[in-house]
Symmetry: C2
Subunit: 223 residues, 2 copies
Amino acid sequence: MDFRLTDMTDDEIAQELSVVEPLTDSVRDLIDAVIRTEVDDDVLIAAREQIDAVVTSLRGNQKPGSYGVPFTRKLHGMPYGNAAVGKRNAIAPPLRVEHHDDGSATSEVVLGAAYEGPAGLVHGGISAMLLDQLLGEVVSVSQGVPCFTGTLTVKYLRPTPLGPLSLRAETTGSEGRKFFVHAEISDAEGPTVTAEGIMISPANMPRHEELKRLRAELAASAE
Amino acid sequence: MDFRLTDMTDDEIAQELSVVEPLTDSVRDLIDAVIRTEVDDDVLIAAREQIDAVVTSLRGNQKPGSYGVPFTRKLHGMPYGNAAVGKRNAIAPPLRVEHHDDGSATSEVVLGAAYEGPAGLVHGGISAMLLDQLLGEVVSVSQGVPCFTGTLTVKYLRPTPLGPLSLRAETTGSEGRKFFVHAEISDAEGPTVTAEGIMISPANMPRHEELKRLRAELAASAE
């Protein structure tokens, strides 16, 4: 894990997100429009020129590599480039995960044309991706340890329709640095896909308890 | 499966792709640029306005739902909206799959900032998505049967770096309408992720042999 701290204050981060998130939403809209458009070639060609001009303007100043996962000065992760939850990543729906007091995590998401596999259905690999993200987050938050996926087993019970879906995950057990996790995707009729994960917390990574302690120290020193 | 035939001739399809594919590539470039940009707010705000204008122009005429998988008049599938391989879908890298005489399938792909999970690494869910696609295609082409994923088991051997990667899949066995498949992702140092799939060929779907026969009839009737 990358413990690079951002140079920005919390206010600067909030200000940046207030501009970048709507831009990312517009790119999500554009992805959908390109898939579904039936306009004439001259409109498509003009669209490409306009997009290339926007890309040039955005690349006037940019990070050299991927976004990474920098940390705020209060030591909260900023996974804004993440393929499943990234606030700057138009590939991400993005999944917005809610964590509950009983240790479970849930998310409501609407998947459109960009997430299609078989006609009218969610791509099986997209279901796997969203479940993998949720499995990682539920261990990370409920157990207080960052982790990587060791093994992910996904069972497809029936086709998952594009449209509104609910996701749910919970930790079912642990064994040393291994955590066992269950998650599922449901449509209005019930579960369509289930996943079992074995998540591994690497030995050399700081635990959330340590981050909490550091955050408290930071808050105290700022007083 | 959707056996809707497209209204377009093969020449019209080729012409459309020659314009839509570069547009989709430009949107892929835009996704990357939005993740990595560090330009000022006024440039971001202008970028959003320009993108929204492009979206409006593209939505002047569009399919009502998702792209689906229409078929050409020669009965070849057009999965152009597919999340992993879709030529119109900027979420897809896109994976370009090569099928070999020994029944295996391979793909070379370069994954950039948009496919990140942990800092500098491919999102585990993205690896699962690409492997799921390859597993489906290798059964479909080498066994001549369309199929859905029943169970997908993904093992993460070590982190997968962003950058150039190789994928490979092969069918390892079958039992009635079930096919067992193995696939893996490798970087320059060797495999990073492996997957085992149990793929199910639904009873009510036409086999490729039937499509081949229909294609031959079509060709004969056109002479």
